[in-house]
């Protein structure tokens, strides 16, 4: 058991899978020599050499196209899109090609690959380098969508993603890279489609993802101080979605809150709300509250950015308001 940063966990997860499976390689802008702009791939070039750890031109379509073609022909690529905002420059390859190939070819083609990307705000980078776009990916049939909140989950879910026969978009949160936690020694392999109750509680359910998980946990502690016992669920993977765990919790608490960083309209919370209303309607004691970034592009200045993304205080306040 060693303490590892979320950032280091990324490199460890990749290394674990590259060690295990010769077919796995890493490709992206400045991932090799420089070890990644977020230093998430440090050491991998030295360890695995330039055949398996590759720097590329600024050509996101070429990178993801190459990953797709390689995946179709027997390899297991891990491609990096530096900031998740940049998915937009290669969105066609992701949503029209990678996501649909298996279906359109009646199962002839497989696309087992992982696209890692730095997602989310908090670094004052402004509206083009801070977006949470996991909801864009969730809306596309054929993709899997993963977003870990802890270093151990990074390793285990990354391993599961690499071994998954389907294309996985793996969202790392920029503002979690520096966070640290204990990570078990040895190989770690987790499972996609399994949400985690990270804090059991009786009064209400808070469903969160990535950076919103530690915030929801902190909020839950504050609420506990006021006698409100919140259950906090870390969704971990949006697709596949562990609705059983979420609905189970709602059936118990009868009150549901989602905490999401993506802008409000059609954030992933909307899908959770819709499922809960459909399948746990008679258990609900009150409106479901979505705590979200308002429906705005993100401002860059520190104070503004902090006010825009859901904070611990806002979660506490909205939960209390929602309980009235």
């Amino acid at each position: 058991m060693a303490e590892l940063s979320y950032r280091e966990a990324v490199a460890r997860g990749i290394a674990q899978e590259m060690d295990r499976d010769e077919r796995v390689f890493l490709i992206g802008e400045d991932v090799a020599g420089a070890g990644g702009v977020f230093k998430t791939t440090v050491g991998l070039l030295d360890r695995f050499g330039p055949r398996r750890v590759v720097d590329t031109p600024i050509s996101e379509q070429a990178i993801l196209g190459a990953a797709m073609g390689a995946a179709m022909t027997g390899l297991r690529p891990i491609a990096e899109i530096m900031f998740s905002d940049f998915f937009a420059v290669a969105w066609d390859i992701v949503v029209n090609e990678i996501a649909k190939a298996r279906y359109m070819t009646n199962g002839q083609v497989e696309v087992p690959l992982v696209i890692r990307s730095a997602n989310g705000g908090g670094a004052r980078f402004g509206a083009q380098h801070s977006q949470s776009v996991e909801n864009w990916a969730m809306a596309v049939p054929g993709l899997k969508v993963v977003a870990p909140s802890t270093p151990a989950d990074v390793v285990g879910l990354l391993a599961a993603s690499v071994r998954d026969p389907d294309p996985v978009l793996f969202f790392e949160h920029k503002s979690l890279y520096a966070s640290k936690a204990e990570v078990p020694d040895g190989e770690i392999l987790d499972e996609l489609g399994t949400a985690k109750i990270v804090r059991p509680g009786a009064d209400l359910t808070i469903v969160a993802l990535a950076l919103m998980v530690p915030r929801a946990l902190e909020a839950a502690e504050i609420l506990a101080g006021e006698g409100i016992d919140a259950e906090v669920i870390d969704v971990r993977s949006l697709i596949p979605l562990d609705t059983a765990t979420i609905l189970g919790s709602v059936e118990k608490t009868s009150r549901l809150f989602t905490v999401e960083e993506n802008p409000r309209v059609l954030g992933w919370g909307a899908e959770i709300v819709s499922i809960a209303v459909d399948e746990a309607f008679w258990h609900l004691d009150a409106p479901i509250v979505r705590i979200t970034t308002p429906h705005v592009p993100l401002p860059s200045s520190g104070g503004l950015e902090d006010e825009t993304i859901p904070s611990v205080e806002r979660i506490v306040a909205e939960v209390k308001k929602g309980l009235v």
């Binding site: 190459a66 066609d92 070819t105 026969p165």
Partner: protein, 380 residues
Amino acid sequence: MNPLERLRARRAAEDAGEDPSMTTPEAAMGRMDKPYGAHDPTLPPPVDSTLDQAPIPLEHRLRMYELQQEIRQVETQLHRLFVMGLVQGTSHLYTGMEATAAAFGTLLRSDDYSFATYRGHGHTLARGASMKGLIGEMLGRESGLLGGKGGSMHLTSVEHGMLGSYAIIGAHLCIANGAAWSARYRGTDQVAVAFFGDGTTNIGAFHEALNFAAVYDLPVVFVCENNLYMEYTPIGQITAVEHPAADRAPAYGLESIVVDGNDADAVYLTARDALEKARSGGGPSLIETLTYRHGGHSRADPGTYRPSAEVEAWKDRDPIPLYHQRLLRIGVDESTLTGIQTSVAERVDEATEDAKAAAKPDPSVIFTDVYADGGYQWRN
């Protein structure tokens, strides 16, 4: 002046230090200075009869003849089936352009990879994919190559190295790079080939793919089939250079190659070199084949935006009679050729009957193969 001559003239003028854009009438052709459909016709190059003597094995030549027949007859049949109301969705026929697919199909090794566009019937057949599967797919049947789920624009037959037809312009050039990457990574000497049209050279993915292939010296061959039109627009009108692929090759450190795309032997020789180069670690090539489609862009298009002199000149320059004549000239019997034609016709008929008789897909397949577990479950 035909396009090849034009290219040569332009190069000569450039070498002589002239600015050809000021001196040749063709240079003006490119822009919007004529009423729609009234642009100058682009005429085909003359047949190069020296190719009769090209060092091409006879069996390869007969195979190219057979493939061109297969493709032509299938396309003709599909047009008939379309008129009868049996073809579903859109379709983009390859009629008139057969030489390129036939030459590559003859040369590619069974473990090489092909990537085509929505105009991919020919490239699919040329890899040996099933005619029944192809016609079945066009009729939306369970027997189709894609079980009726993909349609005309996505023909794929992985077992034949045909890794797909891609209906959104550009992406598959990038994807072909990946297959080439994989081949080299795995230490094989497989090659990937991507076929695409002239219009496709103006999309960003083309540029990214070409640079990427060149940077990593990938074993990939890019084949631009320049049929002079992007849908209904003459390519010169929306492209900064005359040869949309060849004139861009130097931007990727590659050689400019323009070849007569209506002469299977011409394509064959160029393709052979490019494949050999790729297979032996020499990196990518970009080939521009000059050709013409006999029909409209897609099934709904009568193609009236093309000057009739142009259409006629190119129909006269049909790759199949041309090749037929060559084979006769080099001593093949008419009866051998007729034999090939007839046997192809029989197979086309058989495949058609098979497809017509095939069942429509069961609605349950709507929910299969979204994910690797065979289903579509995105939740528990």
